[in-house]
Structure formats: structure tokens, C-alpha cells
Amino acid sequence: MYNKTVMDHFRNPRNVGVIEDADGVGEVGNPLCGDMMTIYLKIKDEHIADIKFQTFGCGSAIAVSSMITEIAKGKSLADAKQLTNKDVAKALEGLPKNKLHCSNLGADALQLAIQNYEDKRAGVTRSKPLRKEKHEHSHGEKCYCPYCDIEIQEGITFCDACQSSLEDEH
């Protein structure tokens, strides 16, 4: 089901844990959709000096979390901000299509953690912590029905093949 790279990151996840005095924390997902990911950052000279994660989720979710921490570690914030979920899937040499929506949230968690760091530095306080529960797919990225793997056209809120409503996910 999963390729060797994904299984390697699942079996030996890199950078697991919590940074107690983190400069930025990002959290995505909710248990309802199956996966939750938290990313902790330590920033030094505008670079990611340390990064750790915690994940509740399937094999793919754990591999994605591990991979994003490995890619982001040591990067400048400017470069890290360019990272997308697609980059993570590519670095993992592919994920099952139906898992792209639900478990490929690593870059989202990273971006929220960076935002959290920048907010703190700018003295911005938000009434609610930044949190992302739904997947948003970037323009031009192909989207697949999480229930039957069929490609979904942008802007369509149900799957042609299985008639599932996709309003929450798409």
C-alpha cells in the first residue's frame, strides 16, 4: 500500500516530540477527519534551528510529519514558507491518492507554526489560536475523491462516481 520511503519514515519517524519553549507552534486537522498534527519550531537567525512534531493518524500522516520536519530543518524562514504539501508528497515519492486530502497536512502545520512565530514577534495576539481543519488545495493541483479515488474537478462539491458529498473536504 505504501512505498518504501513512506514506510521508512513511518517506522523510523524523524524529529518526534515537543519543544517546550517553542518559538512557534502549528496545529492542523481534527480527530473527526482522522488526523491531527502539531509542529514545534525553534528559530535562530531567521532559520529553523530545531523542529519537532506530534501526530495522531495513519501511517501516511506519520510519514508526512516526519518528512516535513526533515525538509524544513535548517531552512531559512523565507525558503520554508515556500514549502507545500505537494513537496512533501514528492519527497516521499508519492502517497496513495485517497490519502492526499486527509493525511498530507505537514506543510500546512509548518506554515501555521511559522505564522505563529511571526505573530508573536510582531506582538499580534489572536482571539483564537490559528488552526486549520480543512484541506485547501492549491490552484492547478489535482484533487481526488477521498472515498473512491476518482479525480474531482475544481469547484464541484460531489463525486460523480460515488455520489459522496464533498463540501466538507473539497
Binding site: 513511518f10 517506522r11 480527530p31 502539531t38 501511517g59 501516511s60
Partner: protein, 394 residues
């Protein structure tokens, strides 16, 4: 590589005796049982022997009440659609439960789109249908009640005998999907009061791809497959004779060894349930403590996700099944677990441990030790477990 199979609900090994008769049957090169010449008659005799063994396992009045099919799914489709179409002049209302297998759910969904009305009953916290609810749901339009014997995800057994009394009194046809029960626990169609009962051969160590349907004499039902007059005119198409011969042997052995197997399986189940609390904490048992199969335990381990557990146990050469949404094709939380009142997060951590007569106490020990390690590893990664620790600490 020796894998410990604790996923018998997905596949059971063929018994050596079953393999033997099937190999012999292949070598025998049987002719078509419907042919009237000598070769055909020899094949028909082999078919009849298997049918009688199956009828014996279920205590049918006559072997003619057994129809062999391609498995549990076909049997369920046949029972539901066949009864609905043959009785729609009497009414178009069907009663079922919220925890049925997809074969039942989707057959009924199909019928709904052609004008049938379906009442789906809720289960109690233990996962059982209340027979009173069935009685109350029956109207003059009700033609069929379909309630499963045991649940494939939790192993919980339904009060079929009580429901059977109600359907008999109200003269409504009663089908039970007993795919995970037949050949595992004693089944007597007279005592249960069912008119139709679906079964699968692999459940009692027969071949996958063979199953059948008990159809009580006098039950109005159309065939699912139209064509020839095989299977007493109830299931067209040349029989899978090799598979059916294997099924007959498996049925014979299931009846002969039932008591011995029950003692063995019950021992493993008790061992698992008794030792689990010494290995892990914070889990939910979804299997009914009293009314359940002897060979299956469903556990929801909190704060972690089932597919991860399954994959890690697989690395330890232990096969289990998970009901986590992440591991299903649909990525949806199990309707059975949600019906029991489980939260989505808890449902995510659900493992189905199903064992067989080929498992030993040692297998259960090995599994428990491996599970302890896997749960610790995954909880260390889990933000939910961390949050819980923070809550307790503050």
C-alpha cells in the same frame, strides 16, 4: 516467515482435510451435476453429500433447503432482493438494524431507489437490537426483517431467537446474515425461527468464494441469478463443485468438532481479555461481554490510530484488522462503532482481533507483548496523549 494470524475474520486457513477432498475433487474431473448420464450422476451425488452435510450443520428439515452460492455477499443479496421482488404485491416495507454489513445496507439502498421503504433500528450501548423495537416497527406493509446473527466488527450476537418468535407470530419473512456465526457457534434454524440464513464457507475453514443460503421450504423468493434450474431452481449456473465439496467437508468437521473448538477459542478470548489490562490502559472493549462470538474481540485503544497499530504489528509478523477510517477504502468512520456511541477519535483506534483453531496461547502472549510496545511508541508520538498528560498535570 511465520505470521501469527489474528485476522481470521478476513481469512481463515483451509483445514488439511478440506484441502485433501478439494484436491481429490480436482483430480476426479467431475462432470456437470445437472447432466443425466452416469458421469453427471456421480457429480450430482458428490453435490448431494455436501448439501446434506451443510443441512446437518444448520439442522434443516431437508437438504433441499440449502442453496449454494458464491459466498456470503451473494447469499445476502439473494435473500433480500429475492424476497423483496417476490413479495412486493404484499407490501414494500423492510426492517433492518443500523449495524448490518454493507451487503445488507447496500442491497437495501438499491431497493429503496425502486420504491421500498426501510426502517433501520438503533442498537443499545452493548450493540444489540431490542426485539420489542422490531415488533413495534412491523406494519401491515412489512414483508421482511433482516437482522444479522453476529456482527463482523464487534462479534456481538443479536437476540435472533426472540426476533424469530415475533416474525413468526406476525407472519413476516425473517432473514439473518449469519456469515460470521455459521460453523463457529451452534446454529439451529428451527430454534432460531429464521426463514433465511446466509453463510460463508471460509468462516468454518472451507474455501473462500463459496457460501450459501438456507431457504425454509415455503418461503416466497425469486432467484438472484436467472438461467438454468440448478440448486432446486433457486440459483442458476453450473455449480462450483470443487468448492462445494470442500464446504461439505468443512461443515461436517465443524459439526463434529464444535464443542472442542468452542472450548479452545473461549480459552484464547478469556486469556486476551484477562491479560489486556496488565499490558495497556485506556481502551474500550466493543464486544458484548455475554452475547458474543468466541473468536473475536474488538478493542478501541485511545489516543492512537488503528492503521498505524496494524502496520507496526505487521512488522512484528502479527496480522490484525483495524476499523479505523484511515484504513478503509471509504476513509469513513465505521457505522457500527458510531452506533455503539463511540467518538470519532476513539473509533480511529479500533482493532479487531479474531483468532482461530490454529492459534495458540503463545500467539496471544506474543501479540499482547507486541501491542504494548506499539501502543507506547504511538502514544509517544500522539498529540492527543500529550494533551491528556498536560490536563492531568495542570
Amino acid at each position: 516467515m511465520k505470521v501469527i494470524n489474528l485476522d481470521h475474520i478476513s481469512a481463515k486457513p483451509l483445514l488439511p482435510e478440506v484441502k485433501e477432498v478439494m484436491i481429490a475433487a480436482i483430480k476426479e474431473d467431475y462432470h456437470n451435476p445437472s447432466s443425466q448420464h452416469k458421469s453427471g450422476e456421480i457429480a450430482a451425488e458428490a453435490l448431494q453429500t455436501a448439501r446434506e452435510a451443510m443441512a446437518g450443520l444448520l439442522n434443516c428439515k431437508t437438504a433441499k433447503e440449502i442453496v449454494f452460492t458464491s459466498g456470503g455477499t451473494e447469499s445476502v443479496n439473494h435473500a433480500i432482493k429475492g424476497v423483496a421482488l417476490a413479495n412486493e404485491d404484499k407490501g414494500k416495507h423492510i426492517i433492518t438494524s443500523n449495524i448490518e454489513h454493507n451487503a445488507v445496507i447496500r442491497s437495501l439502498r438499491r431497493l429503496k431507489s425502486s420504491g421500498f421503504a426501510v426502517t433501520s433500528l438503533a442498537v443499545d450501548a452493548g450493540g444489540r437490537v431490542n426485539p420489542k423495537d422490531v415488533a413495534e416497527a412491523i406494519t401491515k406493509d412489512t414483508i421482511l426483517v433482516s437482522i444479522m446473527h453476529s456482527n463482523n466488527e464487534t462479534g456481538t450476537i443479536q437476540p435472533i431467537e426472540e426476533i424469530g418468535k415475533i416474525t413468526r407470530e406476525k407472519k413476516v419473512i425473517f432473514h439473518s446474515d449469519a456469515v460470521d456465526s455459521v460453523g463457529v457457534v451452534p446454529m439451529d434454524v428451527q430454534q432460531l425461527g429464521v426463514d433465511l440464513l446466509s453463510f460463508a464457507a471460509n468462516t468454518f475453514y472451507g474455501p473462500a468464494g463459496v457460501g450459501g443460503l438456507f431457504i425454509r421450504r415455503g418461503t416466497r423468493i425469486f432467484p438472484l441469478l436467472d438461467g438454468g434450474v440448478q440448486e432446486n431452481n433457486k440459483r442458476a449456473g453450473a455449480e462450483n463443485l470443487v468448492g462445494i465439496i470442500g464446504t461439505g467437508k468443512a461443515a461436517e468437521l465443524a459439526l463434529r468438532d464444535m464443542d472442542k473448538r468452542l472450548i479452545h477459542l473461549k480459552g484464547l478470548k478469556d486469556q486476551l481479555l484477562n491479560e489486556l489490562p496488565t499490558m495497556i490502559d485506556e481502551y474500550i472493549i466493543n464486544t458484548h461481554p455475554e452475547y458474543s462470538l468466541p473468536n473475536l474481540v474488538s478493542i478501541s485503544v485511545r489516543y492512537i490510530e488503528g492503521e498505524s497499530v496494524m502496520l507496526m504489528l505487521d512488522d512484528d509478523d502479527i496480522a490484525v484488522s483495524t476499523r479505523s477510517a484511515c484504513a478503509t477504502g471509504s476513509l469513513r468512520a465505521s457505522h457500527v462503532l458510531l452506533s455503539l456511541g463511540l467518538s470519532h477519535a476513539d473509533a480511529q483506534g479500533t482493532l479487531v482481533i479474531s483468532f482461530g483453531i490454529d492459534n495458540s496461547k503463545e500467539d496471544i502472549n506474543t501479540f499482547l507483548k507486541a501491542l504494548k510496545n506499539v501502543v507506547t511508541t504511538l502514544r509517544d508520538i500522539s498529540p492527543l496523549y500529550q494533551k491528556k498528560a498536560d490536563r492531568l498535570g495542570s
